[in-house]
């Protein structure tokens, strides 16, 4: 996919690890200049350095997506260092916590899941829109199969990820006339959260793989990242309002 995003600039939130880091890496290797927008420099800076070590262009910008001023600053940072913005990828989400029914979810978790999902989507969308409109850019949201078919283990997570899909379809309608596309990716991939889950439940990995037609769990950089590259590229110029499940076929009924 080398060169597909030549001359493009992208912000990827939550890019210090996991799917966000994979997407940032793939976009950079496709030619984009990438702002690693992450809450912690402890992982954001190394993620940017790792991309630079592979020949890509990436800079870290500290960003808590629940704070509007931080998101505005990430956009300003991108304009200052890269000169433009073509793609806003909102991937950051707070940890959903352990599996539990909705009646056992505490107030703090509800607040943080909403803040990093719906509120932060509002922040990212509104802050990026002027540049996206100027450049015919794109907004990409990271949702989840849980946001489509619900989740018995993480019902709150399913609700906030579903909410992002309602927003993206509305924004696709709203921003289409401005030439701005809005799409989502619903991945199943190896992430730090997946590592924790499989460590806590030793049979989980085998069960997941057994139910996945392609027989493995996705890699953030080589499996999920290229789909973000595609959505940000001119190849997807006639796609908007869509959610692509990148899950090895795990959820065929979506």
């Amino acid at each position: 996919m080398s060169g597909l995003l030549e001359d493009q600039v992208a912000i990827v939130t939550g890019a210090g690890q996991g799917v966000g880091e994979g997407i940032a890496t793939a976009m950079a290797l496709a030619g984009a200049r990438v702002t690693i927008a992450a809450r912690r420099s402890a992982n954001g800076e190394p993620a940017a350095q790792a991309i630079r070590d592979r020949g890509g262009q990436a800079l870290f910008c500290r960003c808590d997506v629940t704070r509007r001023e931080d998101v505005d600053a990430a956009v300003a940072f991108s304009l200052k260092h890269w000169g433009r913005l073509d793609a806003m990828v909102h991937n950051a989400v707070s940890p959903p916590g352990p599996p539990r029914p909705i009646q056992e979810v505490d107030d703090e978790t509800i607040a943080s899941q909403i803040a990093t999902s719906t509120t932060a989507t509002f922040h990212c969308a509104q802050a990026a829109f002027p540049e996206l409109r100027t450049n015919g850019g794109t907004l990409i949201l990271l949702t989840s199969p849980s946001g489509i078919e619900g989740s018995g283990h993480l019902p709150l997570y399913g609700a906030v990820k579903g909410a992002q899909r309602g927003m993206l379809k509305s924004l696709a309608r709203e921003w289409g006339p401005h030439g701005v596309r809005v799409n989502a990716i619903a991945p199943v991939a190896w992430t730090p959260a997946m590592d924790v889950a499989t460590e806590a439940n030793p049979t989980l990995e085998a069960r997941l793989i057994g139910r996945t037609p392609l027989g493995r769990i996705g890699d953030p950089t080589s499996d999920i990242g290229p789909v973000a590259v595609f959505l940000a590229s001119d190849l997807a110029r006639h796609m908007t309002g869509q959610t692509l499940a990148v899950d090895g076929g795990r959820y065929l009924g979506l």
């Binding site: 509007r68 029914p101 909705i102 009646q103 979810v105 509800i110 607040a111 909403i114 803040a115 719906t118 509120t119 989507t121 509002f122 969308a125 509104q126 829109f129 849980s146 946001g147 489509i148 078919e149 619900g150 989740s151 018995g152 993480l154 019902p155 709150l156 399913g158 609700a159 906030v160 990820k161 579903g162 909410a163 992002q164 899909r165 309602g166 927003m167 993206l168 379809k169 509305s170 924004l171 696709a172 309608r173 709203e174 309002g241």
Partner: protein
């Protein structure tokens, strides 16, 4: 449908569709409890109805006025976004938390009423679509989690006119090519939609949970 006077329904939300569906449930013999658009906390149900021990049905249609006003996302203030998306989403989640025990005692049913824009998007209605789609998906999660407790959970998608001012609803209809309903009419909220809600609580539909029904006279046929 034969009236059954012993059953209790809680209908949440100001204005329609909550008002009309509530009237329909009353007519069908339900004892009706009402909450409007006031904030919902975990103890809202218990405080409002202190003697309530079991609850056969909860119908959620709580979408405050700001949800229903068309406004492009770029024009929204942070406060307006919160009031139109985050707050109603959180309230719908809190309602589920607060209703769990009385629903479990009755092996009851919870139904979220949502507008077409939840699953199809709506120009000018991003916050409403976000909150409502989150709750539509929540109903599926509740069905998965609460099934072993005997609680069933569903979502019903309604025509935009059930929630919006006529001009806005007409705009949604045009955007989604919703013309000429196959059954000749959009269902009446009190006379027809309430009967579907009622039916979902019946033994005849005892094996159904997690359904996401579109009750619009056949205007929109997704999937």
């Amino acid at each position: 449908m034969a009236p059954q006077t012993s059953r209790t329904a809680l209908v949440v939300g100001g204005g329609d569709p909550a008002d009309s569906v509530g009237v329909g449930l009353l007519t069908a013999g339900w004892s009706l409890l009402r909450l409007g658009d006031d904030p919902i906390n975990d103890d809202t149900v218990a405080v409002a109805f202190p003697t309530l021990e079991h609850l056969d049905l909860v119908v959620h249609a709580r979408y405050p006025a700001l949800c229903r006003q068309s406004r492009e996302l770029t024009d929204l203030t942070a406060e307006q976004w919160h009031a139109a998306c985050d707050e109603p989403l959180e309230a719908g989640i809190r309602l589920a938390r607060g209703a769990y025990e009385p629903l479990r005692a009755a092996e009851g049913t919870i139904v979220y009423l949502v507008p077409l824009m939840a699953s199809a998007g709506g120009d000018g209605f991003a916050p409403f679509a976000g909150a409502a789609e989150g709750l539509r998906v929540l109903a599926k999660s509740l069905a998965k989690t609460w099934g072993t407790d005997g609680i069933r959970a569903h979502a019903i998608t309604l025509d935009p006119s059930a929630f919006l001012a006529p001009d806005d609803a007409a705009g949604m209809a045009e955007a989604n090519s919703l013309h000429d309903p196959p059954l000749g009419r959009v269902p009446d909220l009190s006379d027809e939609v309430s009967l579907v809600v009622d039916a979902l609580t019946s033994d005849a539909f005892g094996v159904l949970t997690g359904a996401s029904l579109v009750v619009d006279g056949g205007l929109w046929m997704p999937g």
